[in-house]
Amino acid sequence: MLIDNYAYSNRLKDVHPAEKLYFAMTTMAMGFIPNIYLNMAIVSMMGALLVFNAKIPAKVFLKTLLLPLWFVLIGILTIMINAVPAGSSALIKFSLLGITLGITQESIKASAVLFSRSLAMVCCLYFLAFTTPMVDIFIVLRSMKVPGLFLELMELVYRFLFVLMETSERIYISQSSRLGYMNAGTAVRSLGRLISSLFIKAWKDSESLYTALEARGYEGEVKVLTKKFPISIKNIFLITSVEFLLLVFAWLSGGGAR
């Protein structure tokens, strides 16, 4: 998992995770303001921070940006194309199965707002994902009083995920080297076997993990040492002023979409 690798090795990894979370979340909230210019400002700001400050290769950032694009594009096309009455003033009209479909000026505007908002927020999400390791996010969530059981389950899932991912990749390679994914029929059969053996492995691993933990004095809670991060007043001040500037910018550029 590429994003996770960068989360542990980027240049901003030593910044306090709460500061990064605060920055990503407030900017994301800012993204709800329907203003295309503001959204584009957020996109360029997050992109610049990731590429120049966190030193994430621009190519990697752009490639991950394409991931949610399919959903967004398809959804936007669906919203853009409407059934319109025959005599209406649509920009583009065509008929399909006896229904007149068309794209109107309003539907283009609505889609543009949606597209830019989604792009801006995806960039905020990527800022968090690329700069903050999950382990650090757990520290912040713990101090935010997220229920202990939920957090513990999250930590366990995060740990086991890599174990099972690797196992499934190995099984997949050995199956496909034996032509297990030759056609759709064999693929379903192989996948069924892969999943069931993966499940059995997960089950057995969980049993032996529990035994191993109990042998080491486990009493219902996995205790780990947490890394200490310095709190930077400067960063908090900087983030708050950037958010304020964004608000001013949104106000000055006057809605954009309206």
Partner: protein, 247 residues
């Protein structure tokens, strides 16, 4: 000319790709609907946490198993599932999880998996977490579970109840997603109904064959597990019973 171009582009874009894009992307829903779906999903997750707390207090070993179950669901969603039409998608594991672990447990695990999918794989997002949790971790598993239980009660063969539970659960997940999208984006002439029809139209083309393959896959997996160790499976199936206090 223009019309043809537009139409063929739409076909090329839509058909094979929609299958991969099942999570509502980050920032896609307006603020109002983000909050509404958060509120809808929350009680189910809290209920799930309570039932997990009960299970874990009764048998501490289960916590590790639930951790693995969550990771297992995540890995499932990263696998490629060959579909009847030749396109590829990812199994949701919704039905399998609900049958193995019960719907309440799945609401919590599903939410955790969705958080990791957003942060590690860039599928879905934080603002759409509530909406995605509601469709994939609440509606899907609850439907699957109810169908599985109901079919067993009227004495259908096990493969049939598993197949129906998994495929209908899968389908209803997408119906819920279309509903969420249609509510947030009513069509300009036509309103909610027209919009719902549009989104459902796209999902119907791509998701019905996928739901069928997911159903077949779930039957296969549970049969293999049963032949490996029937006892283990019934042991697992005890989880939902305890969680529900049904018997």
């Amino acid at each position: 000319m223009m019309r043809k171009l537009l139409f063929s582009t739409a076909i090329i874009l839509w058909i094979p790709r929609m299958a991969m894009a099942m999570h509502i992307a980050e920032g896609y829903l307006p603020l109002k609907w983000t909050l509404i779906w958060d509120l809808f999903a929350l009680p189910f997750v809290i209920l799930g946490l309570y039932s997990i707390r009960k299970l874990v207090d009764a048998n501490p070993r289960l916590k590790m198993l639930l951790g693995f179950a969550g990771a297992f669901t995540f890995v499932l969603s990263a696998l490629k599932l060959p579909s009847v039409t030749g396109s590829c998608s990812h199994p949701t594991g919704v039905g399998l999880g609900a049958i193995l672990f019960g719907p309440w447990v799945m609401s919590v695990l599903g939410m955790i998996v969705l958080i990791f999918q957003a942060l590690l794989l860039a599928h879905g997002g934080i603002t759409t977490l509530g909406a995605n949790t509601f469709s994939m971790a609440v509606v899907g598993p609850v439907t699957s579970y109810l169908i599985y239980r109901g079919m067993n009660k009227i004495g259908s063969p096990r493969w049939l109840s598993i197949f129906l539970a998994a495929s209908v659960g899968d389908l209803l997940t997408y119906v819920t997603t279309s509903l969420q999208l249609a509510l947030a984006f009513p069509a300009n002439p036509g309103g909610f109904n027209a919009s719902f029809l549009k989104f459902m139209g796209i999902f119907a083309v791509t998701q019905v064959p996928l739901a069928i393959s997911e159903g077949l896959l779930t039957v296969l997996v549970l049969n293999l597990l049963a032949s490996y160790n029937e006892e283990m499976l019934t042991g697992l199936l005890m989880i939902p019973k305890e969680a529900h206090h049904e018997r």
